[in-house]
Symmetry: C2
């Protein structure tokens, strides 16, 4: 029967049922908790599922994440031992690069200061380094990091990227491993974080990392842009770095606790741009096409793509 079970919170399951059935009208698509006979479920599509929502699906063939990051799914106790598929969607990648290029340019062009000047009715042109004298370092060289790197290179920035394991990326200086991380930080004026959240990356943005950033750059101090996951950053360390001048400024789209609590000092920090985890909202239509495309190719015997390596965590 190969039915699909949607197990999601914070999204509308009925809309998703309609969306998937529009692409495959004969498919049996069910929204948790209306599971019916659990043995008929072949695929689960999940976003922050309720505890136990994926239990007892004895004929399950794959779990599909509805988001790019799979850290929340991997954290589920008793996640079924079937292939876990993550989203690699050109639309999502384009949107993330919009966020990254926008925020790199915001800091490169000192827009926070420019907006202050505007509020004070101050006409004060200031010297401006060329992008070619500003070094951007990207943590994470998957689909998202690579696309951002290419676009920032085209904008004229000196771009380097770091990944856990060695990767060759045409046209970008690449670093890897512990030693490579220190090397890249030392030549980085604007740090863009696009890492997956795994046990190895949790809290990686801490005082030691931030103090390793270049201090001789054209912007007057290093800038942090976190578009990955809140869990990557030690928020006390980031705040301390902003306050003691280790960081010039930051753009934070993700936080340890979301929604960001009203009491968070990030909201009103003059050096911080806060956005509500909107770096890369996926287009639901594009996502639905991706998911059904995976199911159809799988059923045609072509196998699944973008299957998560559970040991690596992404």
């Amino acid at each position: 029967l190969n039915a699909i079970l949607l197990a999601m919170t914070g999204m509308e399951p009925e809309t998703w049922v309609a969306r998937l059935k529009a692409l495959d009208p004969d498919r049996d698509v069910r929204a948790w908790p209306e599971v019916g006979n659990p043995q008929e479920i072949a695929y689960a599509m999940a976003w922050k599922p309720e505890p136990g929502a994926l239990d007892g699906l004895s004929n399950l063939k794959a779990v599909f994440s509805l988001g790019a990051g799979v850290d929340a799914l991997l954290a589920i106790d008793g996640l079924p031992d079937v292939p876990l598929v993550r989203v690699v969607d050109p639309d999502l990648t384009m949107r993330m690069s919009e966020y990254v290029v926008l925020n790199v340019l915001l800091h490169h062009r000192h827009m926070l200061r420019a907006l202050d000047d505007q509020r004070a009715r101050r006409w004060e042109p200031r010297d401006q380094p060329a992008a070619s004298s500003v070094r951007v370092g990207i943590l994470g060289l998957g689909e998202l990091g690579l696309d951002a790197a290419r676009k920032l290179t085209m904008m004229g920035f000196q771009v380097a990227g770091w990944s856990r394991s060695a990767k060759q990326r045409h046209g970008i200086a690449t670093y890897f491993g512990e030693v490579g991380l220190k090397q890249m930080l030392g030549r980085t004026d604007i740090l863009v974080v696009l890492l997956p959240l795994t046990p190895a990356t949790t809290g990686i943005i801490d005082t030691v990392l931030l103090r390793g950033l270049a201090r001789d750059g054209a912007l007057g101090g290093p800038v942090l842009i976190n578009a990955g996951r809140g869990g990557l950053q030690n928020e006390a360390d980031v705040l301390a770095a902003l306050d003691d001048g280790t960081l010039l400024a930051a753009s934070l789209d993700v936080f340890v606790t979301e929604p960001l609590p009203e009491s968070s000092p990030f909201w009103t920090h003059p050096k911080v741009i806060v956005t509500p985890h909107v770096g890369a909202d996926s287009d639901p239509e594009a996502l639905a096409r991706y998911l059904m495309g995976q199911v159809h190719r799988f059923e045609a015997g072509e196998g699944l793509t973008n299957v998560v390596d559970r040991t690596a965590g992404y």
Copy 2:
């Protein structure tokens, strides 16, 4: 002798003398009003020269503008009848595209609203159109317009461009002439103005033009970005368009009167981003290399490039 006369206001002539002599130590470089024997001046390099500063240079061979726009020089009564050379500098082009891409993304991602949300400690993710559903129209397809068009295309936007006379530009929908202008405006959500200021373009951004912009776009209303010259915009019309909803928002880097007077309503308008004519500051070192390169090629018999068509005004 082929001496160079620097005739500039608002820049430091001594620094410029040193910069040019560093590239050509034997060259006689003079800063107005220390003209010496005017017959020895072969080249004038000018930026907003004092009235009369270019008079009586009987052996002058060329006037070089120190800025990309030559409208101020062309407005000089009795401008010597020698070739007038404008700046076409890859560094300046890159910087202008930074400004354009930054401001297009600012409005595309509704950053003014996001900054308001931040100030109010409001965590409110909102639906966001993809760049591929947003249409950017560029007025002016010279070096600056073309580079901006290419970069916006790469960011995923639907880009079109308009120029006075027909131009073929690979990968960009192009329009020209009066009819083409109306057509392009009708498919434009974000209008980027990079025109030269000429008698034909003065005041071109008026109520009629703004009302011709698309009203069915993904952003909820059209956006104006003027990075060209203040004289291109009828400022009363722009304000009225912002206030009556004809425009959703605007980024203005240039104004009819600069510095923008403290009394201008643009300063505090909630829909406007004001910057102090910093769209594309040229790197003085790059500019000096460009100017001396022109002089050296000219003296080697290779002729001048980027000579202004005085009838067209650019």
